[in-house]
Symmetry: C2
């Protein structure tokens, strides 16, 4: 599943966001040295990464912000409008809908919940449908990704079912680690407890604080 480019790709969203920021600040050009200072990656590696994504630098000038932003965005797929279906509309779901700029990442969202699902219900302007109509929702909207928020349906089961309906990306907030065998499917597990434990470790006596 991995090879070559690999680790650079984990840095790709970071580069994109920074170029996007520069773009919104109306800065036109940037060098690997300047970039390096801002994002904490060595100039060598910045050059190597960006070169690998397509080599859009200009000798003696650096990187054209507008151009590189567009190219990186294209690689990430943000210029390609897709649909995401949110499964579950608990408080985590609500928070994500408010908090994440889905549009900036190229997604429009529909949600499905188990309980209510009265016709026409909306959260933060996105339509909420009943989970029993999932088949129909998916047929209509053809989502590429599912956002799995905590619910009483086991994620594993849910995800397999969704994969069969053609969903390929799973953004998993359930807290249960999700692994799928389906060849063309990708899972992004967001594990906040692990993130918190990482921080806990570092501030613990004997943790990273002691060099």
């Amino acid at each position: 599943m991995k090879r070559g480019i690999n680790v650079a790709i984990q840095r790709l969203p970071g580069y994109y966001r920074y170029f996007d920021k520069l773009h919104s600040m109306e800065i036109q050009g940037v060098s690997s040295a300047a970039l390096s200072k801002k994002i904490g990656i060595s100039p060598s590696l910045v050059r190597k990464d960006i070169c690998q994504f397509g080599g859009f630098g200009q000798t003696a000038y650096g990187y054209n912000v507008k151009e590189v932003r567009a190219k990186l965005g294209h690689i990430l797929g943000v210029d390609n409008l897709r649909c995401a279906v949110m499964i579950g509309t608990g408080c985590m779901g609500h928070a994500l809908l408010r908090y994440v700029r889905f549009d900036a990442a190229g997604f429009i969202v529909v949600a499905a919940e188990k309980v209510s699902g009265q016709t026409g219900r909306e959260i933060s302007g996105i339509p909420v449908l009943n989970v029993s109509e999932l088949d129909r929702v998916i047929q209509i909207h053809r989502p590429d990704i599912a956002i799995l928020t905590p619910s009483d349906i086991p994620v594993q089961t849910m995800a397999r079912q969704l994969a069969k309906m053609g969903i390929r990306g799973f953004w998993n907030f359930s807290g249960e680690e999700l692994a799928l065998d389906e060849p063309d499917c990708f899972v992004e597990n967001v594990d906040l407890v692990e993130s918190l434990l990482q921080l806990s470790y570092r501030i613990a006596p004997g943790g990273e604080a002691i060099k």
Copy 2:
């Protein structure tokens, strides 16, 4: 800031959570081979990691779940009750309070918000205080970490101020990358947009789907 043990530590919370799960399932022992299958890390590396954390395996037997869980938990600091102060009580804050098992990670939480802060207000059982009383709140509760949720105060400013008051860990959900120079402080940036973009990349044509 880094050296030696390093990369193993990023896997530590994952090991801990899995041992915790085994423990709650009342499983008593596990081998590196069995662990490997479940968490997708090679048996060699599992052994190397756990050995590095303290070498609590037993030849010809494997790992004693209860014991290793306790030791890893100790390294992570979960057996050490600390306080976390949440800055901002918007919908992301609410969601985190409901969703994250802070107690299991060894934290009790207090929150501070800008607006209301009427005496005695609570969210999910945790006390909510006014941000203007932050000094007092911190003097009383002596939190080790701050949870930064989106708010109108720039994180950088907020974090520096909190660092001066003795807070050493910053769990940053603001969406703004936070970097601190303070030597003894640690930042864990949770960047959901980057996580979503990673997934976006993988399902994009030309992304990881193409081997």
